[in-house]
Symmetry: C2
Subunit: 396 residues, 2 copies
C-alpha cells in the first residue's frame, strides 16, 4: 500500500498560544523599543541549580573520564541510588513505595506522552478543562476518545467526579497547571473511589508537588487505596530547577493489575524496549537535590518563587480580583477584570501595563475570561508588575 | 468499559537472551570460582569519556549554577550549537543537511522506538533477520505486520531488495548489529531505488557509522535520492562513549512528504508534545566530541576497539572460521565451528575456553549456528580470548 502517516495527527489542533504571544510581543516591542516589558508568562524556572547539584554533576563527569569510574548503559529504570533517594523522599509524606515501583526518566512530559502506549486505544480519556495541553494532544495522536470535566469558578477550578462523565483513563493534575488549584485529601479520595467504582486508571501529575503547603497532599498515594488505581508522574524540573537538566520519575504500583497483566511489568517492557535510561551524571545531580543539604538549597529557590506568588496573591486580594492558585503553586490564575476576554486582557496588559501574561483561553474552553501569571520571574519584576497592575486598575 | 491494556503487548516474545546468558554464567562461575571468565559478549563501550567532553560538561554544570548561565527548557529539537556541529560532521561525508533536519534526542533507541508513532499502524514493516530486537518489538507493540528479509551466509548477512518482500517501512542497520556487515554504496543505492519504486520509507540505523572505513558509506544520504525516502538515526553512544550519557540524533529530510504532510513537521509535532529536549550539559558534552580536539580524542578510543576487532578477525582468518564484521564494526559475527548450534557453542566456549559471547540465535531465526563476539573488552582480554579460542580449536 506504500507508506502512510498516523492520520490521527491530522486531528490535532495547531498550538498557536505561545507562538501568538511571541508574535504580539515582538510586534509591540518593535513599535515601542523604549518600553520595558515584564515577562510574567513564563512557565519555566529561572533560579540557578543548587551548588550541591552542580558539584555532584561535576564529580560524576570526572568519574566518567576514568576507566574505573566510567558508566556505560545504566538501568532503564534508573540507578538504585536515585530510586532509593526518591523512596525516602516519599516517606516524608508518609508514603511507602518499593524501589522497583519507581521509574526514572528524562522528564514527566516524556512519561506523560509515553505511558498511554501500554494502554488500549479503545479507552476513553477524562481530562479537565482547562489543563496542560499535552494530556489531550497525546491522546488525540493515539486516537482515543476524550471527554472533558469542567473546571470553573463554581468548583474553584477543581472538578469533582461526575457519573455522567466516566473516563477509563482519568488525568488529574494537582497542583494544577495552569490554574494553580490544589485538591484536598477528601477531594482526591473521592476521585480514587470513583476510579475504583468504574474500573478506571488515574494518571496523577504531581509535577508541582513541591509547592504544596500545609496538610494538602503531595502525592495521590497519601490517599488510601490509591495504589490500586493510580500511576503518579513527577519531576525534578520545578523542585530542583531541572527543566534544562531533564530528570523525572513515574511511580507504577505493583498492585495494579489490568486484564491479568501487572501494569508495572508492562511499563518495564515498554521502557526497556524504547528507552535507555537517564545520564549517570544527571541522576547523580538529582540524587544530590534530595540529600538534606540539597533539600535546604533547593527549598531556598522554591521559597523565593513562593514569595513572588504571595506578592501577586496579596495584590489580587487588595484589588478584589478572583483567582485560584498562588498559595500551593507558582501559578496565579485570575479572572480578567471588567468582564474582559482572555486575549483582550492580554492586549491591555501588554500595551497599557507592559506586562506579558498568558491568556487562559489557550488552555481550554473554560479558560476564556481568565489569565495566568507565574511566580518564576525575579522579585523586582514581580513587584514592578504588581505595581503596574494596580496603576492600570486605578486608571480605568 | 473500564481500563484495558494495549493487547499487542501480549504478542511480544519475552527476551530471554541476556537473562539466560547471565544465568548460565553465574551458574558456571559458582561451580568454578577459580576460573577467570573473559567477557566478550558486551555490546557496551568501556573506555572513559574524552577529557574535552568531561571538561565541557563540567563547564556547563558551572554555568547552570549561575543566574546568567542557567538554562531552563531547551529547544525540543536540540540547541543550535549541537545541530550545527552535526551539520559540519556530515559535511565530512559530503552530506549537506539543514540544521532543522537534525533532531537531538536522548539516544537512537528512544528515537527508534518513538519514530513510528507518526506512521500508520496499517503499514507493513520489513526487518532483516537477524537484527537488533528493538525494530521488531516496537512494531509488535504498535500492531504492525512484520515481514523479514533473510540475512545469511549466502548474501554475507546483507539482504538485498526482493520483489516478494515489500515493506512500507524498511529498517536497515549498517554497519549491522549483530552481524557487523556493512552495505556498499551500490547496495544502499539499490535499497533507495526499491523504496522509491514501492513508495516505502527507509529507517536507516547508523549507530555504528563511526567504525566505517574506506569508501563505504557512513550515511544513507551519501546515496543520491536518499533524502526523498530515508530517515537516519544515529548516536554519540559508540562514537564518543555516550552509552551512559545519552545523546543521539535523527535526521528527517524536509523533502519527504507523505499523504500531503511534511514528515519533518510531523516529527516536530511529536517531539514538542512528548519530549522536552536533552540536558544542556549533555549537549555541550556532545558538541565537544565533534570539535577537532574531540574528534582526535574519541578516535583514539575507536581505534582501540578497532585494533581489538582486528586481533579477532586475524584469528578467524588463521583458524579458517567464516565471519562477517570486525572490519567496519566492533562486532565479529562468526559461524560456529564443527557445525555447532549457537547455544551449544556458547556452552563450549564458556566451559572449555572461559569465554562469554552471545549466541546468534538470540537475534533471529537466521542467527542459529552463529555467535557474536565484541571488540569492547580490554586489549588484554581480547588477546587472551583469542589465544584460548585457538587452543580450544586445536584440542578438538
Amino acid at each position: 500500500m506504500g507508506i502512510h502517516i498516523n492520520e490521527q495527527y491530522n486531528e490535532l489542533n495547531e498550538s498557536y498560544l505561545f507562538a501568538e504571544i511571541a508574535r504580539k510581543v515582538a510586534e509591540y516591542q518593535k513599535a515601542n523599543p523604549d518600553k520595558k516589558l515584564l515577562k510574567m508568562g513564563i512557565g519555566d524556572v529561572t533560579r540557578p541549580l543548587a551548588r550541591c547539584v552542580t558539584d555532584a554533576m561535576k564529580k560524576a563527569s570526572d568519574e566518567m573520564g576514568t576507566a574505573e569510574g566510567f558508566h556505560g548503559y545504566g538501568p532503564e529504570q534508573g540507578y538504585a541510588f536515585l530510586r532509593e533517594a526518591i523512596q525516602n523522599y516519599y516517606k516524608k509524606f508518609g508514603v511507602e513505595l518499593d524501589a522497583d515501583e519507581i521509574f526514572i526518566s528524562d522528564g514527566a512530559k516524556s512519561d506523560c506522552g509515553n505511558f498511554p502506549d501500554i494502554l488500549s486505544t479503545d479507552c476513553t480519556v477524562l481530562i479537565p478543562d482547562p489543563v496542560y495541553p499535552v494530556y489531550a494532544d497525546t491522546n488525540v495522536m493515539a486516537g482515543r476518545k476524550i471527554i472533558y470535566s469542567s473546571a470553573n469558578e463554581e468548583n474553584h477550578f477543581l472538578p469533582m467526579p461526575d457519573e455522567s462523565k466516566v473516563g477509563d483513563i482519568i488525568y488529574i493534575c494537582s497542583p494544577n497547571n495552569p490554574t494553580g488549584a490544589c485538591y484536598s485529601r477528601e477531594q482526591l479520595a473521592a476521585w480514587v473511589a470513583f476510579a475504583k467504582k468504574h474500573n478506571s486508571l488515574i494518571l496523577f501529575d504531581a509535577a508541582y508537588e513541591c509547592f504544596v503547603t500545609g496538610d494538602l497532599p503531595h502525592s495521590i498515594y497519601e490517599i488510601e487505596g490509591a495504589k490500586d488505581v493510580a500511576v503518579e508522574l513527577c519531576s525534578f524540573s520545578k523542585k530542583a530547577g531541572f527543566t534544562g537538566t531533564r530528570c523525572g520519575y513515574t511511580v507504577v504500583p505493583k498492585r495494579i493489575v489490568i486484564d491479568g497483566a501487572v501494569l508495572n511489568k508492562l511499563w518495564i517492557r515498554r521502557q526497556t524496549t524504547k528507552f535507555n535510561g537517564v545520564a549517570y551524571i544527571v541522576e547523580r545531580g538529582a540524587e544530590a537535590a534530595l540529600t538534606d543539604e540539597g533539600e535546604k538549597e533547593v527549598s531556598e529557590n522554591i521559597n523565593y518563587y513562593r514569595e513572588n506568588a504571595k506578592i501577586m496573591t496579596d495584590t489580587m486580594d487588595e484589588l478584589g480580583i478572583y483567582y485560584t492558585g498562588g498559595k500551593n503553586s507558582p501559578y496565579v490564575w485570575l479572572k480578567c477584570p471588567f468582564g474582559m476576554k482572555s486575549w483582550d486582557f492580554f492586549d491591555e496588559m501588554l500595551t497599557k501595563a507592559g506586562i506579558v501574561g498568558t491568556p487562559g483561553a489557550g488552555f481550554g474552553t473554560n479558560g476564556e475570561g481568565f489569565f495566568r501569571l507565574t511566580a518564576f520571574s525575579t522579585r523586582e519584576t514581580t513587584i514592578e508588575a504588581m505595581k503596574r497592575l494596580k496603576e492600570y486598575m486605578q486608571s480605568r
